[in-house]
Subunit: 322 residues, 2 copies
């Protein structure tokens, strides 16, 4: 249940985990406690595999590991239409048990069987679907990594995976019961590169004061109604009226978008954000943590270890490991 | 008050109006009733003036008119920092009287005086400014063009100028008392050209069924909370799950953004949109009218005549014409 193996399993590899996304491929040798014993990474994401396609990329990153006869589990976009084999989405609620029961086997020529985790789909009350693929494995692992906390109450736990397409997730007892995707990162990138707002930006730095100013406005802490569409133009007018230096416009836009995202997510989650587990170790996760804390939420951070822990929990529920 | 001149003025030019924007320049010879007697247009917007700069562009479009000694009034981005001379913004509330009292004269070599209309600035309750330049003249004219209507009640009149940066305006007794800018058009353009959503689009058409589907979702007619950031990804997931054909993604995104804009504007305007005067005659104005009517609002449309009528009303209040 908690992902703890026996003492004998600790330190000995029992599983190979692959985190195979759009632009990167990570491979882990994992022990029975879900700890990473060895890690490798390559740029051969599903859109950038070299000679021999997916099989070639797999051989290059973990060919020497495959001879050990360990089970291999793969999560991420490798199971999408653009990946190795399209694995159907599983409906919510779902956790390690449901994911483990729906692993999709792809046999390799040398007798190894690659087990793909399915993604998740959630159809909202308006009949509009949302999907994730790869994040479900991180979430299952992150809940175990984070351990029981004050937030794991009646409302469950709230997790955030910031990025190009940020995912907000609510779990109950380790199962994903709700999630939503916010296109914040991609919106920032296209606006910075291609819009009138980008033309006002001086330099590549994310000015802290600008970020805080954008965050306050985007989060709607004031009394003015309206959402992102109304607020976006402020990045231009503030600069135009000399209330925001050109060097702070980039940080302001980042803060504005993240503030809007948090305000929308909070509304989706019933109006309160007591604690948020942020998955990811990069600078971006830190920016989200500062934003969440400014909005009154407790945060904790879980890194790459969540993925391997997720692989372990799902593999155990699938009966691949003891 | 109503912009009606005497019978003697009708049909005789009393004013030259210039609508000088970023990408286009329009010139009107206008009679005392605010009617356009003759119109000319060129591509010499402030970012594209040819030989001789602004003076050259003016001479080319209306050099032969200037000899008549008529007053000349110019509205639009020509009065911005990137224009001929920066004219300060006027605070709201403001109408023809305030605008007419703040015209900014720029003398030309041949004795003609060019009168620039100021733009408007509004600082919201959060201390964040919004600006317009050129639209104030259209709005003043549009209120007069539309005449008294059922919407000109205690809450005043609501006007919409759709475009790259849509402006929503509330007037009372012909004066602008509130406005807000929505970056809808620019957001659509950058997402269609540069985002993952654009890569799903097949063809250049705006599919009507897709537009209606996006409008319903963007307008938040359903029961799911969240705003644009959460809703944007639906353009991808619906396509991915075969609930939206590739040929309808472009129309869906347009509807989604316009639906979000209307929902946000409605919230800004206290929750109701009884009647909206849409300024503009293009296909885009028609799309907004359909969207507004789907949201239960009455609409009326006012075209290019609004600008010349605005020039006339402002010039009269300035004492430039009788």
């Amino acid at each position: 249940m908690s992902g703890q193996g026996t003492a004998a399993q600790a330190g000995r590899a029992v599983l190979i985990g692959l985190d195979w996304g759009t632009s990167s491929l990570r491979a882990y040798r994992i022990d029975g406690d879900g700890r990473i014993l060895e890690r490798r990474a390559s740029g051969e994401g599903i859109l950038a595999t070299g000679e021999g396609g997916f099989a070639g990329a797999l051989a290059r990153i973990a060919g020497d590991w495959l001879g050990d006869g360990l089970p291999v589990i793969a999560s991420g976009m490798i199971g999408s239409r653009q990946g190795w084999r399209e694995v159907p989405y599983l409906p919510c609620p779902a956790g390690a048990l449901e994911l483990g029961s729906a692993l999709f086997p792809v046999p390799l020529p040398d007798g190894v069987e690659l087990m793909f985790t399915p993604g998740l789909v959630r159809v909202d009350a308006d009949g509009v679907p949302d999907v994730m693929r790869g994040e479900e494995t991180q979430v299952v692992g992150a809940v175990a990594e984070a351990g029981p906390g004050p937030a794991e109450g009646a409302a469950g736990r709230i997790l955030l995976l910031p990025g190009t397409h940020s995912k907000w997730v609510r779990t109950e007892n380790g199962r994903v019961v709700w999630f939503a995707t916010f296109m914040t990162g991609e919106l920032f990138a296209v606006l910075a590169r291609h819009s009138i707002l980008g033309r006002l930006m001086e330099g590549d730095g994310l000015d802290e004061a600008g970020f805080a100013q954008g965050l306050a406005h985007g989060g709607g802490v004031g009394t003015e109604p309206g959402g992102l569409l109304r607020r976006l133009f402020s990045a231009r007018t503030l600069a135009l009226l000399d209330r925001l230096p050109g060097t702070a416009v980039r940080g302001y836009l980042s803060g504005l978008l993240i503030g809007c995202e948090i305000a929308e997510a909070r509304a989706c989650l019933g109006g309160s954000l007591p604690e948020v587990t942020v998955i990811g170790g990069a600078e971006l996760a830190g920016r989200y943590r500062r934003a969440l804390e400014a909005a009154g939420a407790l945060t904790r951070e879980v890194g790459e270890a969540a993925t391997a822990r997720g692989h372990t929990l799902i593999a155990r529920r699938a009966g691949l490991i003891a």
